[in-house]
Subunit: 138 residues, 2 copies
Amino acid sequence: MVPVPVVGIHHIGIVVENLDEAIEAYQKLGLTFDGVKDFPHTRVALFHGGEGHVELFEPKDPESDLGRYLRERGGIHHVAYAVRDIRTALAQLEQEGFELIHREPVIGLHGFPVAFIHPRSCHRVLTELVEVPEGEGH
Amino acid sequence: MVPVPVVGIHHIGIVVENLDEAIEAYQKLGLTFDGVKDFPHTRVALFHGGEGHVELFEPKDPESDLGRYLRERGGIHHVAYAVRDIRTALAQLEQEGFELIHREPVIGLHGFPVAFIHPRSCHRVLTELVEVPEGEGH
């Protein structure tokens, strides 16, 4: 079975304690700040550098999944790879025995279909696929 | 001070327990396998998807830095951002108070100058800069 090819690293997600301080630091690192999105359980700052995106998450609730992640570990939370056909990729991965968190794609922060694969299947890395249409970069 | 811009996510580094199993899994994920490099303390499998690279490290020595990382945490170990001028970037970051692991670049796995920034300065993310010349992608 020929896998659906990864066409790029779309983004990494990072869990931070203090979003405002982190926004300042990541701008100094040379990333371009694209704004903050507010959700019930988290605030997310979006950045990009070339075609790579960085998402900084500040959990609002210490008992949420991200809140626990911050307490126990912090730092890089997941990586997202760009593909052109997420449904075929998910079907193939399931057939190969990968443990899918989403069997059907959901809409992600960038407006594209996304799905997560369990870290147990990816050598302890929470892995996301993002379907980026051709011509939209990756 | 205008930061030296990040032009892309060059790679992520992942620490794994069993490199051969991980090579198989990451090929099934859709990444292209580029080979294994052998070093005294680690074996590294190189992959790419589009312009994004993935490096899987299997530590040989459980008491090495990577060995301890695997025991305590595992998974994504660092992210590397591509820049065009690493010396200026490092000088600026040092002036901004970032804690540099390398004040002078060293040559990385891909043959380009690289330098690491301490996770303390990057909200718990071990961060690498890679100087990728224009025209070599990022």
